[in-house]
Symmetry: C2
Subunit: 387 residues, 2 copies
Amino acid sequence: MAECDIFPKEEFHDRCDRLQAALAARDLDALLLTSPADVFYTTGFLTRFWESPTRPWFVVVPRRGEPVAVIPAIGRDLMARNWLSDIRTWDAPDPVDDGVSLLAATLCDLVPESGRIGLPMGPETSLRMPLADHARVAAAIGRRSFTDATDCVQRVREIKSGREIELIREICTIAGDAFDRVPGIVSAGQTQRAVFAAFQIALLEAGADWVSYVAGGAGPGGYGDVISPATDRRLGDGDILMLDTGAVRNGYFCDFDRNFAIGRPDPAIVRAHAALHAATDAALATMRPGLLARDVHRLLCDHLNDEGMTPLGGRLGHGLGTVLTEWPSLSDKDETPLRDGMVLTLEPGVEISPGRILVHEENLVLRADGPELLSPRAPAELPVIAS
Amino acid sequence: MAECDIFPKEEFHDRCDRLQAALAARDLDALLLTSPADVFYTTGFLTRFWESPTRPWFVVVPRRGEPVAVIPAIGRDLMARNWLSDIRTWDAPDPVDDGVSLLAATLCDLVPESGRIGLPMGPETSLRMPLADHARVAAAIGRRSFTDATDCVQRVREIKSGREIELIREICTIAGDAFDRVPGIVSAGQTQRAVFAAFQIALLEAGADWVSYVAGGAGPGGYGDVISPATDRRLGDGDILMLDTGAVRNGYFCDFDRNFAIGRPDPAIVRAHAALHAATDAALATMRPGLLARDVHRLLCDHLNDEGMTPLGGRLGHGLGTVLTEWPSLSDKDETPLRDGMVLTLEPGVEISPGRILVHEENLVLRADGPELLSPRAPAELPVIAS
């Protein structure tokens, strides 16, 4: 890709229109965005340079007109390759004034004197700028004020466009190809660290631009958690290996896992894998726009309980897009309505014995008539790697 | 590695002692930490799960006694494999109370009634929790108050231990091996995207656990910036290719780049490469504890100007460790004193023609008697890849 070729300009106009409609509905005069995902979403600015926490980056979406980028000079060229024309820069990092006065001046330009500036302050958000600088901006913009606008951003971003869905499907297909190669590249006796490296290589060879996330576990009778990095422990006969990945292409993530048995698996594992697969089938058959996130959680739990399994606590799926995990959470506490165009993961997990778990995950887009899978469906039977 | 094997427990005790001495010196009663790097530094908790922004994670370092982790239940197992014994968890994500009351209760436990809680609020920091939840915590802890503690954390973390330096040297060596392989895996006609993928594969094959950062550029007579992701543009005769990487092993980063000419390079490029190499040599010969960050910036600029070059604006190097870029900045505005044990990058760059630049980078640890290189020194002559 050339950076500007991921999306046509119309995509950004449409996003901006929808955000501005949300601002108008809430009577907000502008939106201030600081996160990598929000900046990419509104401007097309895609870079791994976010890995450096040194510099803040700002996008101001006014209630009318095009967004304005207020960014370190090092980003001007890349930002200018996309659709924005008003790009204001400063020479960052500046220990005395790191964009504070430029951002404050921009807000004063774009927002009326007693205007309200929306800022994501709620669940799943954080402010990617120094807290002290936020206070200085707030003090420098007169009677203008900041107010929470989490909902404005989330209700817009959670509905994916056709092109976004196509991009997520593309990276899901890439990860599926890499998972298909796992039985050929993994064997008993290898360290987890070697397995994780080989899997990341397979993802890159299959077409991922980069691999932002790989986690997993391996152990006899299941694994202990799903967030650990690799250890130097060697795979042994009877282990269950789980690999989970958020690989990225064109700025969009997949997020699904696969399980593999090293040698003949314990019958309890076989039953658990079948139950997770069937619970996922049940959710795929039932999910519709209008259900709440918690309804899907209940459906998965009920199905697993009916099969005599112990569902894991926490959530059993979530949103997906330009970030590894987005809202909503498929948990018993999340009342977000599911909508046509949401991309979601289904991630049911069970406890097999104390401290030993098995987790299964697929990615889908919700359509008016139900889910359409984006990840290639996991095999119903747990794949076995000869030990 | 098993996660707990990266550092002996004594390393964490030492870190904690130094942070607590900084708290005492500032008369602070505790430190609240939320960032991936600060949590890893104080607890040994290493995971790529930070890629999910859904859940906040907290560590409270009291003025006396061991740190307390206040984290989502999903992280308990991994946190418990390290040195902390007081791990308090909640079932996250919770849309109503996502750790707010547990964190507030912990702060009330550990901090006296009118106590001051340090929080990093200054340059290079951001608060990794929802802003609205921070306000709710502040309202729930009575007369206790938050105050900026950026300096406490930065003055401690910027001095690397012997083991930390060893880990950074290890990943620098791995990246050096991968860079050595570039002439064998890159050729004219390949897309940048294919080159970036091949380079990431080389890093993983050489021993990186993961590759958090690859950027670069390629073009005739230099490149446009140093933060762009790959495009589908094909390498052509006369291009200068730059690859820059932050690869990671055991949670520690390298950050250096290398330049390659595709076919015979333009004499202006050869001169610029030689000047950047010589400016780096000059800095390596001159840097000592006690100089300020800006002194090194001036030294590099003076050297480049003397050779008739046009130094780039912005900074020409920075700190390095558990994050791709740490403070200080080798810029004309940064007055941070350099100290024995700091790990730094030297990153001089020049403008060759309008919009075309060349950037050179090395990693070092500053010792009492001067710098010791951690990256294998780049060749004095620009390597040429046959076109």
